[in-house]
Point group: C2
Chain length 120, copies 2
């Protein structure tokens, strides 16, 4: 039907789902092309230890990261650092789009979001 895409859509969607959480993205950005210990991630994100560990598990389960123990510390690094470049590309896209937007803001998904007790 088309030369690319179509067949791997589920995979790509799942990848996007993994990337669709701000805290996870933060973690990935901080790890970048280097390695970071959990402690460092906790400090630099400002998130709780449990929450960081939680998200790291997601990244581990999805085989996005490798771990390496050094004494009591566990260092995380991206299995494929090409991701970082892709993320920057996406970031750039988001920045550009943001300017074109009427609301000045990327809108989240479901319709009812709009009407529900305008939470937050």
């Amino acid at each position: 039907m088309d030369q690319v895409g179509m067949n791997n859509i589920d995979q790509v969607a799942r990848l996007f789902k993994i990337l669709s959480d701000a805290n996870r993205l933060k973690i990935i950005f901080i790890i970048g092309k280097n390695k970071r210990s959990v402690s460092e991630l906790i400090n630099e994100t400002g998130l709780s230890q449990t929450l960081v560990s939680f998200h790291l598990k997601v990244l581990r389960d999805s085989e996005m990261v490798d771990t390496e123990r050094k004494g009591p510390f566990i260092y995380y690094r991206l299995k494929n650092t090409g991701l970082v470049d892709l993320l920057y590309a996406f970031n750039q896209y988001a920045v550009n789009r943001k300017e074109e937007m009427e609301t000045g803001m990327l809108w989240p998904c479901p319709p009812w979001f709009v009407k529900k007790t305008s939470k937050r």
Copy 2:
């Protein structure tokens, strides 16, 4: 802290969330750099009319698409077709990663997923 990223993380995450559904991705891929009527999308995706409309609303609310009425038909097109190229880049990334993977499959997010009544 870093030259890019960090500040727009929420925006990027939201963008990924929009893209994190296989059906929505399918629709976006089909629209591509052209325009498609809802009917065409229904046919080419095989999804129900309601479901297609539902996802199109998400894309409209997030200002990803423009619409144009032609008689009874409504045509959708991407506001910024650069997205298509990014998607292909990600698709390529997913394909490459897939080969490196132990499971041969990108794993979805939450841990309990694993244990729950292995649905579907």
